[in-house]
């Protein structure tokens, strides 16, 4: 399939990396072009480089210092040769318990924003989110696609300790804390799923470009799934997403 050409720019970044920028626009269309380009660079350079995609940029980090101009020529050629594949990302169905024991900011959000807790949960579980980047912590997803009615500003004072699995909202973003960490997001629930498992060869099942949808579970189901996850018998529901 013929792909749309974006006005991309190449920028040297230190001695061994090239940063590729797309026009400033947060969209799945841009992200899908980032991923198409990533694929052909990976096929060409194989293990000679590491690639970090994110929203509207792609960092190509080589193992050794490079001649920037020469590598940009190669990268430009690869961009022309890239093939647009109809994105068929994985959609992961992630269980979340929105009980007040976990959703410790829900009541405050309800009062401050004149929106019922029920509505917050409904909107949060209806949307299909796109993973635009993974960073901040190992396995931390930057999710786009949060309905506007539940955009809530970050808390004025961050908490010293946010538990693993906490599901939060900050501005237009929602996400899950993959480990205990300080954090300033409004906490609305908790997921028993582990988004980063260092002991596994594939430590993080999610990749940039994937889709996420949350579904509500009860507190007792949260307990049950937690046990299944820690004994390694839980299987997350997934499907190929056709849009």
């Amino acid at each position: 399939m013929q792909s749309e050409n974006f006005e991309i720019t190449f920028c040297p970044y230190g001695e061994s990396a090239v940063l590729i920028n797309w026009p400033k626009e947060i969209s799945t269309r841009t992200l899908s072009d980032v991923m198409d380009f990533k694929k052909i660079i990976q096929e060409h350079f194989k293990s000679l480089c590491e690639l970090v995609p994110s929203y509207q940029s792609l960092l190509v980090i080589f193992r050794q210092p490079i001649d920037f101009e020469k590598y940009v020529l190669t990268l430009r050629k690869l961009y022309k040769k890239r093939v647009h594949t109809k994105p068929e990302p994985m959609l992961w169905h992630v269980p979340v318990c929105y009980d007040f024991d976990f959703g410790i900011d829900l009541e405050e959000l309800e009062a401050a924003n004149k929106i019922s807790v029920k509505k917050i949960i409904k909107l949060h579980t209806e949307a299909v989110y796109t993973v635009f980047a993974i960073g901040f912590l190992p396995g931390f997803m930057y999710l786009g696609g949060l309905p506007e009615d539940i955009h809530f500003p970050r808390k004025a004072e961050p908490r010293q300790k946010v538990c693993r699995g906490s599901v939060g909202i900050a501005g237009a973003q929602t996400g899950v804390y993959p480990q205990e960490s300080p954090g300033g997001w409004n906490l609305i629930g908790n997921s028993p799923i582990r988004f980063f498992e260092p002991a596994s060869a594939n430590p993080c099942f999610v990749s940039v470009g994937d889709k996420i949808r949350f579904f509500e579970i009860s507190k007792s189901m949260h307990e049950l799934i937690s046990i299944q996850v820690s004994t390694g018998v839980f299987e997350l529901a997934k499907e190929v997403w056709h849009g």
Partner: protein, 280 residues
């Protein structure tokens, strides 16, 4: 094996880092001053990526149970084996039952202790570098035990090479313009080479903050990848230099990028030390 009798201020196992998981948000970690870690391994005839101990500011006390050889490189530190002083950049033979102990760093910030064949701690995701919670620990504590390979005289290798590492203790940091270099105010940009900055008390394996600020600004970027050695500009004008354990993405403008060697130079700086930029 070695028994940790005292841990020192912050002593950790590090190799050259944990690669290939940056797109999953995993920092690369690895020796802060990779120049010195590589040198310590080279003097022992080890592989470049063999794990070393990174000793920060004050050193541990270690009891060795088997025969081996070690090398110290990087910061200058007071260290003793029995009552004898430990030399830097020399292969030191250790006999079973010998204890080595360290005092404070005298020059620089981080010392590398390499052992023949490298420290045989658990490799996780392709690296032995400590980084919590990927590794169980962030640093050694009293009572920890570290293994090393049995000593093999036939593999004995004594490199006798002189090292020039004075640059590590120099103020100058070689920097390249970063992707958002143009976000700097003209005035700051033109005078960057003239400023002296001092290291803030907020300095660790994740990042070094600098005390002096540049002009306030209101730039931010859409979350994008960062590297060790990236200098971020915050809205208040404060500069944050990302180091080996830094997160893999960020939203502050990346105004400068340290050269690989300058990362090692900065890793040898401690609170209140002065640095200057040499823009390449």
């Amino acid at each position: 094996m070695v028994e940790v009798i005292k841990s020192g201020f912050f002593t950790a196992v590090q190799d050259l880092g944990r690669f290939d998981f940056r797109d999953k948000g995993v920092p690369i970690s690895g020796a802060m001053d990779s120049f010195s870690a590589l040198w310590a391994n080279e003097l022992l005839g080890n592989n470049p990526n063999d794990a070393v101990l990174e000793i920060t500011l004050s050193g541990p006390e270690l009891l060795f149970h088997e025969h081996t050889e070690i090398v110290l490189a990087g910061a200058k530190i007071e260290g003793f084996i029995d009552k004898q002083s430990l030399p830097m950049h020399h292969v030191i033979e250790i006999n079973p039952g010998q204890k080595i102990r360290f005092g404070h760093v005298l020059r620089g910030c981080r010392v590398y202790l390499a052992v023949k064949g490298g420290w045989q701690t658990e490799a996780i995701l392709g690296s032995r570098s400590f980084f919590q919670p990927i590794s169980q620990k962030s640093h050694l504590t009293k009572g920890d035990v570290l293994n090393y390979l049995p000593f093999d005289k036939t593999l004995d290798f004594h490199a006798n090479m002189k090292i020039k590492n004075d640059f590590l203790f120099d103020k100058t940091l070689a920097v390249f313009p970063g992707p958002e270099f143009d976000f700097l105010k003209e005035d700051d940009k033109n005078r960057l080479d003239e400023f002296t900055f001092h290291i803030d008390s907020l300095n660790n394996r994740m990042a070094y903050q600098l005390q002096e600020k540049l002009s306030k600004n209101n730039h931010s970027i859409t979350t994008s990848a960062t590297l060790p050695g990236t200098i971020q500009l915050t809205p208040s004008g404060k500069l944050i230099v990302l180091m080996r354990d830094a997160q893999t993405t960020g939203g502050y403008p990346r105004i400068l990028q340290l050269s690989e060697q300058a990362i090692s130079v900065l890793a040898q700086k401690k609170t209140n030390d002065a640095v200057r930029f040499n823009l390449l």
